[in-house]
Amino acid sequence: MFETADQIFVLLKHWLVGLLPMALQPVAGVVLSVAAIVCFFPALFALTTVFERKGLGRIQNRIGPNRTGPFGILQPVADGIKSLTKEDIVPLSADGAVHFLAPVVLVVAVFMGFAVLPMGRNMVLADMDAGLLFYFAIGASTELSVFMAGWSSRNKYSLMGAMRAVAQMISYEVALLLSSVAVVMISGSLSLTKIVEAQNHYSYGLPHWYIFTPWGLAGFVMYAIATTAETNRSPFDLPEGESELVAGYHTEYSGFKFALFFLGEYLAMFSISGLGTTLFLGGWTAPFSFLTWVPSWFWFFSKLMMSIFVFIWLRGTLPRLRQDQLMNFAWKFVLPMCLLNLLVAGLWRFMGDGWLRWVICSAILVAAYVGLGWEEMRRMHIGARSYRYAE
């Protein structure tokens, strides 16, 4: 019974594929899996937009969308119809071909990232030996599409937004890779299914997720910062700063092409949250050993939606950074801390089991963070607030 619930999507796929003639079956299996991903995640995107607007409304003491359908739940349908029926405006001086290709390249690249994510037990489209590397390789090509969008629009705001976005994405990609390398060092594999399997153990009813180790916690914090920047989410949403750049690289996009950019951004958020879940939060494994009867895909998507909630929460809470602060933060804080984390992960790997490695690894990380915090606070000279004009 539990087995059936756990494998329901896999069984469903096998049943559907079994209806077809033998020669078509391998192709049909792949097409079916791809179709499932291509249908499911945009649906999740539609739901997330309404949750986001509701959540932000709550945080900012407003009501949020409440006119279309009960509790505004039909808002994404209205938005979809609106973007489909709007005129698709291409600026006269824009570079037609590149302008058209940019959103397509973005969405295709983002969709490909889902191929290697294990969304449940046996639920992975392509179980590659180098799955993590595939994910980062595909992720790197989204930068080019952002540049294509900004450059082809022939608009200085678009170009500035694109340049900002590319600079930011390259800077934080280094941090993203380095924080993930620690996981690869410990689990000894680039395959995402093997990384999940390595975390699928329990002692005293508690799971062996990597976030519950000193290096894993520090790595996860760095990973979360890097993903927020990588997906251009607030507080790192400078490339799209409405108040300074109109809307950054997609200023000159309208109608469904704009919707594609919007979709791409949210899909990137889902896939990168899924990767974080897989690397640090145990993927599809249950949080307690007595809860292992709950289907594995339920845990994966719960963790994914929790990450999305944190993204929304951060957006409602934090103000936007300045460009120089953004770059300094990436290169002078996140990068050194990721390198330190690699050192700690190496120590953890070679010190063997026992309590000693917990003490030493925690001590190094705590000393580094607290020491850095003290030093920075001492330099800041924070005193009583003084007003230049108000008094």
Binding site: A137, A140, L144, F147, W151, V166, L190
Partner: protein, 167 residues
């Protein structure tokens, strides 16, 4: 030689030709990216996953962006007015290209004759590559790391110097 190979080869050659023949420099850079992607697909078709993904990560993710930035920051994106995409010394260029191609072709043909005919296909996993890099080839790896660190420090010093001069 399968159908997939011809498809990928056609894509790569078309990208490379477009990179040479298009007028707008940014278009050339984007066409070059297509050629890079084609090369990555060729590696993947040969079951060399690691090299293929590394090709995408390094060439599309970094080199293409670098090329594009260089074009935009040096005002090279302006299309030259005086028509014609061929440089005046095209004859010399043709000779050099033909010489390089002849040399590569010769080397490839020589190597085929030197190899034993039917070797079993080696199965190389990413793990094997990692072990080889950390074991047998650790010295070259470290030398490359040192070189890159030196380049990084050099870049920082160049940037810092410029900032001080402007004060």
């Amino acid at each position: 030689m399968s159908f997939a190979f011809y498809l990928i080869a056609a894509l790569t050659v078309a990208g490379a030709l477009a990179a040479v023949l298009l007028k707008n420099t940014v278009h050339c850079a984007l066409a070059l990216t297509v050629a890079f992607a084609g090369l990555a697909f060729l590696f993947l078709q040969l079951d060399a996953q690691f090299v293929g993904f590394a090709q995408i990560l390094v060439y599309i993710g970094a080199v293409a962006i670098l090329v594009v930035f260089a074009i935009l920051l040096t005002r090279g994106s302006e299309t030259p007015k005086d028509g014609g995409i061929f440089s005046r010394t095209w004859l010399v260029g043709l000779a050099v290209a033909a010489a390089v191609f002849a040399m590569l072709g010769w080397a490839v043909l020589q190597s085929v004759a030197g190899l034993p005919r039917a070797t079993p296909e080696p199965t190389v996993t990413v793990g094997d590559i990692g072990v080889a890099l950390m074991g047998r080839y650790v010295l070259p790896l470290e030398i490359v790391a040192l070189l890159l660190t030196a380049a990084l420090i050099g870049a920082v010093i160049v940037a810092m110097h410029e900032k001080e001069g402007s004060k």
